[in-house]
């Protein structure tokens, strides 16, 4: 007998005051919190809270490729491992990686590859592990965003950061950043990611139905929304170095005070 409490979807995804179920406006993002350097053992790491999504990413590399036959003699390879914790979803996920996780790993890998200078690292691999601890819609976008942040934290040369967000249609209206319920009960879902060095989309998927006008509206809307998240990514990266500077200043103060005595 499986789980019995039913995953019920509300009939309407807008409240009477015109706001979405979680109180957001149509073009409003969920609260986002980012931090880098959260996993000590990793070469680079980042943590992202995006609404109820909680995601860790860690980067190891450049390092030896294992299994060896995957290595390329003329360039490095980027391997993404997107995984969800068994308890991150409503119904317990089986521990082994499923088809969905493998597909998302591949999509994110294809999305991030253009910003890396892989040709400079022949015979090695960069491995990015994305671990979703808590999921509530839009984890592939959040995963891409946090993976880019972790790569930057690892000090790996990049052409630019990558930022991702989902747009979609619920109850006939175009909205940004779909939550779990909106994703399941909505009419369309359009995750996209931008590589900032050329301002082009490097991840694009679409499920649902939209007219041509609606699609155009979404695509016109995307850059502004992505820009907002991009600013947060930059701030998260700067934050780490500001903290270090603060510590250095503090220790210098202590040193000079000690000298005066």
């Amino acid at each position: 007998m499986p789980l019995i409490i039913k995953d019920e979807y509300p009939k309407k995804l807008f409240r009477e005051d015109g706001k979405r179920l979680d109180g957001r406006d149509k073009h409003e993002l969920r609260p986002i919190k980012m931090e880098v350097g959260v996993i000590k053992n990793a070469d680079g790491s980042a943590y992202l809270e995006w609404g109820n999504n909680k995601i860790f990413a860690a980067v190891y590399g450049p390092r030896d490729v294992h299994p060896h036959h995957l290595a390329k003699s003329d360039r490095g390879i980027l391997r993404i491992f997107y995984r969800m914790a068994t308890y991150s979803v409503f119904e317990r996920k089986r521990p082994a990686p499923g088809r969905r996780e493998k597909e998302i790993s591949m999509v994110i890998s294809d999305c991030l590859e253009p910003v890396l200078f892989l040709e400079l690292y022949p015979g090695t691999s960069f491995e990015v592990f994305i671990e979703v601890i808590d999921a509530d819609g839009g984890t592939r976008c959040a995963g891409t965003t946090v993976a880019a942040l972790a790569l930057a934290d690892a000090g790996i040369p990049m052409r630019s950061l990558v930022t991702s967000v989902a747009l979609g249609k619920i109850d006939g209206e175009i909205v940004v950043d779909l939550s779990g319920i909106e994703d399941k009960a909505g009419q369309a879902d359009l995750p996209c990611a931008i590589t900032w060095f050329n301002d082009q989309l490097s991840l694009l998927q679409f499920d649902g139905d939209m007219t041509l006008e609606e699609m155009n509206k979404c695509l016109d809307l995307a850059p502004d929304i992505l820009k907002r998240i991009y600013e947060m990514q930059l701030n998260a990266l700067k934050e780490k170095y500001l903290k270090i500077r603060e510590e250095v200043n503090k220790s210098e103060e202590i040193a000079t005070e000690g000298g005066e005595q």
Partner: protein
């Protein structure tokens, strides 16, 4: 990046060993001292209970999910709790992806045995109807950073998860259908006894508790002892180290003493969550 390597140089080994002989540790602790525990509960909204526990640099996030299923034929009125641990490759360059390996199975098994034999989980209260429907709890641990001694960290994280749990309460109505009352079973319903598992490492003839990463990689082996208030519930010796009978007796006594201290200091019942 913290320096994680499989092989530790002879110089580092000698330095650590010489200090251990003088009752000193590289991180400034004495031989019978834990690193600091930090506990956060209910960090995962999708889970029916969760805890984020760090012990020094080791960090484990565990979560609880449940299903309603049929009981085992030999225990028709008891719920089931299964444990799983995953050593995520994200946590350390020493970990690789793939199906559970010996190390992760041992981690889950040692904690599971400690909890099972201590009568920690009130399995009879997890029965909805005899022979027909019981709760099956899945307690999954994910290692987020490996800094030595995952067993003790995992043990505390499992207990904190169970205590902070809130599993929907189901009953059978007159038509023999399972319905949800809208109430929740909390930690008080699920947890009875709190067993702590305490791990000691051994290098040459020196025994010390809570090995950190370098000490763990250097150790010949370790011994994990699960204790309740005044009883020992399980022991696991692992690695190639050997322990004398006197040493085991000393460690058992020590474990009970440390267990009592830990029980008081961590005060895990403060993480109980009351949900309507």
């Amino acid at each position: 990046m913290m320096n994680v390597k499989r092989v530790i140089s002879a110089i580092e080994r000698d330095y650590i060993l010489n200090n251990l002989k003088k009752d000193k540790r590289i991180d400034g602790r004495d031989l019978w001292e834990y690193r600091d525990f930090h506990i956060n509960v209910d960090v995962v909204k999708s889970a029916e209970g969760s805890a984020d526990v760090t012990l020094g640099d080791t960090r484990i996030i565990s979560g609880l999910k449940y299903e309603v299923g049929e009981p085992f034929p030999d225990t028709p009125d008891e719920g089931v709790c299964t444990m799983m641990a995953e050593l995520l490759p994200l946590a350390s360059p020493l970990f690789e992806g793939g199906p559970p390996n010996e190390q992760s199975i041992e981690l889950a098994r040692v904690i599971d045995r400690g909890i099972r034999h201590a009568d920690c989980i009130q399995t009879k209260k997890l029965c909805i109807r005899e022979n027909k429907a019981v709760y099956i709890l899945f307690l999954d641990m994910f290692v987020m950073n490996y800094g030595g001694n995952m067993i003790d960290c995992g043990g505390v994280s499992c207990l904190a998860t169970l205590i902070s749990a809130h599993v929907p309460e189901g009953v059978f109505n007159d038509e023999n259908e399972l319905i949800w009352t809208g109430k929740y079973l909390n930690g008080k319903h699920i947890v009875n006894e709190l067993p702590f598992v305490i791990t000691f490492g051994k290098i040459d003839d020196i025994i010390f508790m809570d090995p950190n990463l370098t000490e763990e990689l250097l150790s010949d082996g370790s011994i994990s002892i699960s204790v309740t208030e005044n009883k020992i519930t399980s022991i696991q010796k692992s690695g190639s180290a050997t322990f004398s009978i006197d040493e085991i007796k000393m460690l058992c006594e020590k474990s009970i003493e440390i267990g009592k201290k830990l029980r008081k200091e961590l005060d895990l019942w403060q993480y109980l969550i009351q949900k309507a």
